[in-house]
């Protein structure tokens, strides 16, 4: 069956330290959300990660996913933003 993709952008910002990427991606995999693209940078010790994901395969609701990721972000002491890609598309693409 062809699912309609539901693209969600996950952004992670925080102080750089080992294990952030591992912790975040493990939580994403646990929710069965598919990572399609990753971009990561260290900007003056600030860890900045952005992932384009397909949410259509998820095993939970969008709100539950946000809560799960919120819990993980608190453990890792980073900020996680989970937003539908449309908000970026509308602002940055004509």
């Amino acid at each position: 069956m062809n699912r309609k993709k539901e693209q969600v952008v996950i952004t992670v910002l925080g102080a750089n330290k080992p294990g952030i990427l591992a912790g975040i991606t493990r939580a994403i995999a646990d929710s069965n959300v598919n990572v399609e693209d990753v971009s990561q940078k260290i900007m003056q010790d600030l860890f900045a990660l952005m992932m384009m994901t397909d949410f259509s395969t998820a095993n939970c609701s969008f709100e539950d996913f946000q809560s799960r990721m919120q819990a993980v972000s608190e453990q890792l002491r980073v900020k996680v933003f989970i937003q539908h890609e449309d908000v970026f598309r509308f602002q940055h693409r004509l």
């Binding site: 693209q7 971009s39 900045a48 937003q83 449309d86 908000v87 970026f88 509308f90 602002q91």
Partner: protein, 453 residues
């Protein structure tokens, strides 16, 4: 990757750092089907219809906040001007309608419900009279109901009987809410050239030319514009205008997205986006700060009207391309108590009510949230309203007065209305009397350029 990390961070910091938000999703509801000669039966129908039509507005707004990561600060309802219904009432009061609207708003978690309104630019009907006589009571016995009255237009002139009556009502509403510093007046707007699709409070109402129900969106974002203008001292006016246009485009696009999606989820047609910069008392979320970043030592100094004109125009130019339907008031709001920067400019002696009036010639509305001494005579308030209406009538724009004569306070005292309404200084008003002028009665004829046919 579809977006760069920089683009994503720009969007996130607009919300997190620069206080960008969708100020309001406003659901307009036509109440004509609720008509009844018995005001209590009419009120019951109004309550039922509002609760039915707007039932999902708050849950949908909450869902969208999560989906896009953009706060939607207020969820509001606007209704058909209640004076349209009041004409049929046997009992000459419209207060039960206000109570029904308030009850519905509270039940639904709606922040404000507006449209306890009358349109009297040319004359006053029985329904208008009933509504006008009910305003002070309605604003004092409800928490979330807002009222507005349109007393003039470029097409009809200015109904000076209406102006004087509204000045009396402003005084009455202030006195009746004396224990809250005249707070009832913060929910009352007097318009010239009122628009029918304004999503902003307190002047919102559902125009008679609209559909059965409609969804309008008001954006905000002075903080985002301010951030974009940091380090802009080297830019000339053309370049400055470009920066404002670009940022206005981006914030309006977000409003367009939220409006479209809310409309789809609610099954209510999307009306317009109001391309406004609406300040809040939060630090940095200020129109005054933007004007000062443009190079003014203090808002109110010479050059302020020009700076505001340019800002207002650039906001519209940037936003209009981002929106399928732009409407409402669209421009920069300059409320006083809601904008901490404006209050500082008054306290510094840079901004007075005369300069503020000049600024209203080029901003989106008018003398908004202006606290004045509690002992200001009705005639002076009528004079202020008439001046503001004249600016609107001659310039074919919306102007308005939301004046609060704070009981017991004098110029220079500080009044605190709380929350988004903010706090600020009571402004000095002129003390010479326009009494003979404002009491002449009748209507100021429409200007010559109203005759376009």
């Amino acid at each position: 990757m579809l977006f760069s990390l920089e683009e994503v961070i720009e969007t996130i910091s607009a919300v997190g750092v620069e206080t960008f938000d969708i100020r309001t999703i406003t659901c307009g509801i036509n109440l004509m089907s609720c008509a009844d000669s018995d005001v209590h039966k009419c009120a019951a129908k109004v309550y039922e219809k509002v609760v039915r039509v707007a039932h999902d507005v708050v849950p949908v707004a909450r869902k969208l906040e999560k989906k896009y990561g953009i706060p939607i600060v207020n969820k509001r309802i606007s209704v058909t001007p209640v004076s349209f219904l009041a004409g049929a009432f046997t009992e000459p009061t419209a207060v039960p309608i206000a109570e029904a609207l308030d009850k519905a708003a509270k039940e639904l978690g709606i922040d404000y419900v507006a449209g306890f309104s009358a349109l009297i630019p040319k004359g006053i009907t029985r329904g208008d009279q009933i509504l006008l006589n009910s305003i002070a009571d309605a604003l004092c016995c409800t928490d979330r109901v807002c009222s507005s009255v349109n007393i003039g237009s470029s097409q009809a002139g200015i109904n000076m009987d209406g102006v004087y009556r509204m000045a009396e009502i402003v005084k009455e509403a202030a006195e009746r809410s004396r224990d809250k510093n005249g707070l009832a007046c913060a929910k009352l707007v007097v318009f010239c050239n009122a628009v029918e699709d304004n999503p902003f409070i307190a002047g919102s109402f559902m125009g008679p030319g609209e559909a059965e129900a409609i969804l309008n969106v008001g954006i905000s974002g002075p903080g985002v514009v301010r951030a974009a203008l940091q380090n802009s001292t080297h830019l000339n006016f053309g370049e400055l205008s470009e920066v404002i246009k670009k940022i206005s485009f981006k914030i309006t696009r977000t409003g367009e997205l939220v409006g479209r999606e809310a409309s789809r989820m609610l099954g209510i047609p999307f009306g317009i986006i109001d391309l406004s910069l609406a300040p809040t008392p939060a630090e940095g979320d200020s129109i005054s700060d933007i004007l000062e970043l443009m190079g003014l030592e203090k808002t109110g100094c010479h050059g302020t009207t020009a700076a505001l004109a340019m800002l207002n125009d650039a906001v519209k130019k940037g936003g209009i391309m981002a929106a399928t339907y732009a409407g409402g008031l669209s421009g920069a709001f300059i409320p006083v108590t809601e904008d901490a920067g404006m209050c500082r400019a008054i306290e510094a002696g840079a901004l007075n009510i005369q300069k503020l009036e000049a600024m209203t010639c080029v901003c989106s509305v008018g003398l908004d949230m202006v606290a004045i001494p509690g002992d200001t005579p009705v005639e002076v308030i009528a004079g202020i309203i008439a001046d503001e209406a004249a600016i609107g009538m001659i310039n074919h724009k919306t102007t308005a007065c939301r004046l609060i004569p704070v009981p017991g306070m004098q110029a220079g005292d500080v009044v605190d209305f709380g929350g988004l309404l903010g706090k600020g200084p009571v402004m000095e008003v002129g003390r010479h009397s326009p009494a003979l002028f404002v009491r002449r009665g009748g209507r100021i004829p429409a200007p010559v350029h109203s005759m376009k046919n």
